[in-house]
C-alpha cells in the first residue's frame, strides 16, 4: 500500500502533493459516483452487443420453439409440440446418433496423437520450436479451407490421396473416398485428427512446461521407467490441461458442420446435428422446429462448457 504514495512525489515534484493525497485517500462520493458511471459506460458497448446478438436471440429462440414459426406468414403457439416431434423424428435421431459416434471416434485419437507430439517436443531440443509450429499449421489454416482442399485431393484417380494410398499399399488405386458411409466417416475422421491434434499438443505443452523438472530428475534417481514417470508425474499434474483439451475437442466434434457439409453433401447418412438444424431451418424452412433442436444443443454444450469453466477454476475434481 505504501508504494502508491511514494509515486506521487515523483510525479508531482513539489506543490499540491498533500492536497492530492487527501483527495485520494478519501474520494468524495461525487467522485466515486463519477468513477462508477465511467465503469458502467466502458462495459456498455460489449454488453449491448452481447445482449443484442446472444442473449436476446437465446430468449427469442425459446419463444420461437414454442410456435410453428414459418419463414413468412402467421404463426401460433403450439406448446411443446416441436420437442415432442423431435424425439419421434428418425432423421433427427439419426443425426444425434451419428454426431455422438463421430465424436467417439475422433476424440481419443486426437488426444493421444496430441499427447505424443507434446511429449516428443517437450525437452526443448534442437528444432522443437520449429516442429511445434509445423504440427500446428493445419489448425491455423482451418477446417473449412482444408475441407475444400480434400474435396480436390479425394477425387478418385486424380487426387494425391488415391495416389499416396495405393503407393503405400493401403488401398488399390481409384477409391471413392466419400461415397459409402463407413469410408467417408473414416476419411473425414482422419482429416479432423490431422487438423486438430496440433491444438491438443499446444494445450498440453503449456501444461507440461509448468511441471518442475526436478520431479523428473528425482524420479530418474529412483530409477523410474518412462511409463511410470508419465503415469505418476505428468498425467496427474496435467489434469487441468487434459480436461481442457478433451472438452474443447468434444465441443468441436459435437458442433461439427463444415467438413461434413463440404465433403459429404449428398450423403444423408452422414448428417451431423448442426447440419440437421441448418437444413431444417434454412432448406426446408421449418424455422421453429430447427430452433427447438438448437436449444437442446445449448443445454448439452452448456453442461460441457460448465465443466470446462469449473476445470479452469482450478482445484475442482474432474
Amino acid at each position: 500500500m505504501n508504494e502508491r504514495f511514494d509515486l506521487a512525489p515523483v510525479l508531482h515534484p513539489g506543490g499540491q502533493v498533500d492536497a492530492e493525497r487527501t483527495l485520494h485517500r478519501a474520494p468524495s462520493s461525487a467522485r466515486r459516483r463519477r468513477k462508477a458511471r465511467t465503469g458502467g459506460l466502458l462495459v456498455t458497448p460489449a454488453l449491448a452487443l452481447i445482449v443484442a446478438f446472444v442473449l436476446f436471440p437465446l430468449g427469442f429462440a425459446i419463444y420461437i420453439s414454442l410456435t410453428n414459426w414459418p419463414l413468412i406468414g402467421p404463426y401460433h403457439y403450439i406448446g411443446l409440440e416441436n420437442y415432442r416431434e423431435l424425439f419421434h423424428d428418425p432423421e433427427f435421431l439419426h443425426s444425434v446418433r451419428f454426431t455422438v459416434t463421430y465424436t467417439a471416434i475422433v476424440t481419443l485419437p486426437i488426444f493421444f496423437l496430441g499427447y505424443g507430439l507434446a511429449v516428443l517436443l517437450r525437452a526443448n531440443r534442437f528444432g522443437s520450436k520449429v516442429f511445434r509450429t509445423l504440427f500446428f499449421l493445419p489448425f491455423v489454416v482451418g477446417l473449412t479451407t482444408e475441407s475444400f482442399m480434400f474435396a480436390i485431393e479425394l477425387q478418385p484417380g486424380a487426387g494425391w490421396v488415391d495416389w499416396a494410398m495405393s503407393h503405400l499399399g493401403l488401398a488399390s488405386a481409384t477409391q471413392a473416398w466419400t461415397v459409402t458411409h463407413d469410408r467417408t466417416l473414416l476419411t473425414i475422421s482422419v482429416i479432423v485428427i490431422w487438423f486438430a491434434s496440433g491444438l491438443t499438443m499446444l494445450i498440453l505443452t503449456g501444461g507440461m512446461q509448468g511441471i518442475p523438472r526436478e520431479l523428473y530428475e528425482a524420479a530418474d534417481v529412483d530409477g523410474a521407467s518412462w511409463l511410470k514417470k508419465e503415469l505418476r508425474i505428468t498425467i496427474p499434474l496435467l489434469r487441468r490441461s487434459i480436461a481442457l483439451s478433451l472438452i474443447i475437442s468434444v465441443i468441436g466434434s459435437f458442433l461439427a458442420f463444415n467438413q461434413f457439409f463440404i465433403l459429404a453433401q449428398n450423403n444423408a447418412s452422414l448428417e451431423t446435428v448442426v447440419e440437421w438444424v441448418y437444413q431444417t431451418a434454412f432448406t426446408s424452412y421449418h424455422l421453429a422446429y430447427g430452433t427447438s433442436m438448437a436449444l437442446l444443443l445449448v443445454i448439452v454444450i452448456g453442461i460441457v462448457s460448465m465443466a470446462q469453466f469449473l476445470a479452469l477454476r482450478g482445484e475442482t475434481e474432474l
Partner: protein, 293 residues
C-alpha cells in the same frame, strides 16, 4: 540445445547421448511427422500453379515441371473472386478492430472500476462464452433480417465481433488486472482522464492482450463458414469460404478444381503469415484457456 538447467557433468553426459541414437531418432520422427502435417498444405500450393486441367488427372511428377499463373488469373477474372477476397478482408479486419476496441473498454471497466451491476455484466459475458453461435443461428437470422442486416458485411462484422467478445473481454480483463494499481492511481493523481490514461499510460502495457484478441478475432472471421453461408446471399457479398463452396458445388457443369485450388491458397496464406508473425500472442491466448474449439 537448452539443457542448461542440468548441472554441468550430467549435461555433458546427456549431451553426448543426445547427439547419438536418441537425438537422431527424435529428428527422424519429428521430420516424418512434420511432412505428414505440412505436405498436404504445400502440395496444394504447388497444385494451384498447375494448369487447371491437371487437377482432374492422375498426379505425375512431370506435372510440376510447367508452372503457370493461369488459375490465379482465371479465378480473378472469371470468378470475380477478388471481390470475395476483399469482403473477407474487410470483415476480418473490421471484426478484429471492433472486437479489440470493445473488449479493451469492457476489460478496463471490469478490472479497474467498481460499479453496481459489474458482477452481473461479467456473468452475462461468461454466459455468452458458453453459448455456441450454432445454437442461436435461426433466431439470429430472423433478427438480422428484421434489422436489414442480412446479406450485409456490417451485419456479419457485428455478429462475429459479438461471438469473439467473451474471449476478448476475458483476455483484456486479465491484462488490466495484471497492471499494478499504483499506475492507475498515479495517472489519476496526475489529472489524466480515463481515456488519456488508457491511451497514453497503459497502451504499451496492454499490447500483448490487444494482439491476442485481434489475432483470434481475425482468424475466426477469415475462416468462418456457417454464419456467412446463412447470412449472406448475393455473390458480390460472399466472403471467400462461401465463394469457394459455390465454386466447389458449381451448378454450371464440371467443377473447376484449378480455380478452387488457387482460391484455397489465397485463403490459407493470411492465416499462416499472421500466425507466424504473432505466434507468441496466439499461444498466450490459447493458454488463457477460454477458447472454444
Amino acid at each position: 540445445m537448452s539443457d542448461v538447467a542440468l548441472e554441468p557433468t550430467r549435461r555433458a553426459q546427456r549431451g553426448r547421448r543426445d547427439r547419438s541414437a536418441n537425438f537422431y531418432a527424435y529428428l527422424v520422427v519429428s521430420i516424418t511427422l512434420a511432412l505428414f502435417f505440412v505436405l498436404p498444405l504445400v502440395w496444394e500450393a504447388a497444385r494451384s500453379f498447375q494448369p487447371a486441367n491437371l487437377a482432374a488427372a492422375t498426379p505425375r511428377g512431370a506435372d510440376f515441371t510447367h508452372f503457370t499463373l493461369g488459375n490465379y488469373r482465371a479465378v480473378f477474372s472469371q470468378e470475380h473472386i477478388l471481390t470475395n477476397v476483399l469482403n473477407s478482408l474487410v470483415v476480418a479486419v473490421g471484426t478484429a478492430l471492433l472486437t479489440t476496441i470493445v473488449a479493451t473498454l469492457a476489460g478496463y471497466g471490469l478490472a479497474k472500476f467498481r460499479f453496481r451491476g459489474s458482477g452481473l455484466a461479467f456473468a452475462a459475458i461468461l454466459l455468452a462464452l458458453m453459448i455456441p453461435f450454432q445454437a442461436v443461428l435461426t433466431p439470429l437470422f430472423i433478427e438480422l433480417n428484421d434489422m436489414h442486416l442480412t446479406n450485409s458485411l456490417v451485419g456479419l462484422i457485428l455478429v462475429y465481433t459479438t461471438f469473439n467478445l467473451p474471449f476478448g473481454v476475458f483476455v483484456m480483463r486479465n491484462t488490466f488486472q495484471q497492471i499494478p494499481q499504483e499506475l492507475f492511481e498515479s495517472a489519476e493523481v496526475d489529472g489524466a482522464g480515463v481515456m488519456t490514461t488508457l491511451v497514453r499510460v497503459l497502451r504499451p502495457l496492454i499490447v500483448p492482450g490487444l494482439a491476442t484478441t485481434a489475432i483470434f478475432a481475425f482468424l475466426y472471421s477469415w475462416n468462418e463458414f456457417l454464419q456467412a453461408l446463412t447470412f449472406l446471399e448475393t455473390d458480390s457479398k460472399l466472403t471467400l469460404p462461401v465463394k469457394l463452396f459455390d465454386i466447389d458445388t458449381s451448378t454450371y457443369g464440371a467443377i473447376n478444381y484449378g480455380y478452387l485450388s488457387s482460391g484455397i491458397v489465397i485463403a490459407m496464406v493470411p492465416c499462416i503469415v499472421l500466425y507466424l508473425a504473432l505466434q507468441r500472442y496466439y499461444v498466450q491466448g490459447l493458454m488463457s484457456g477460454a477458447v472454444k474449439g
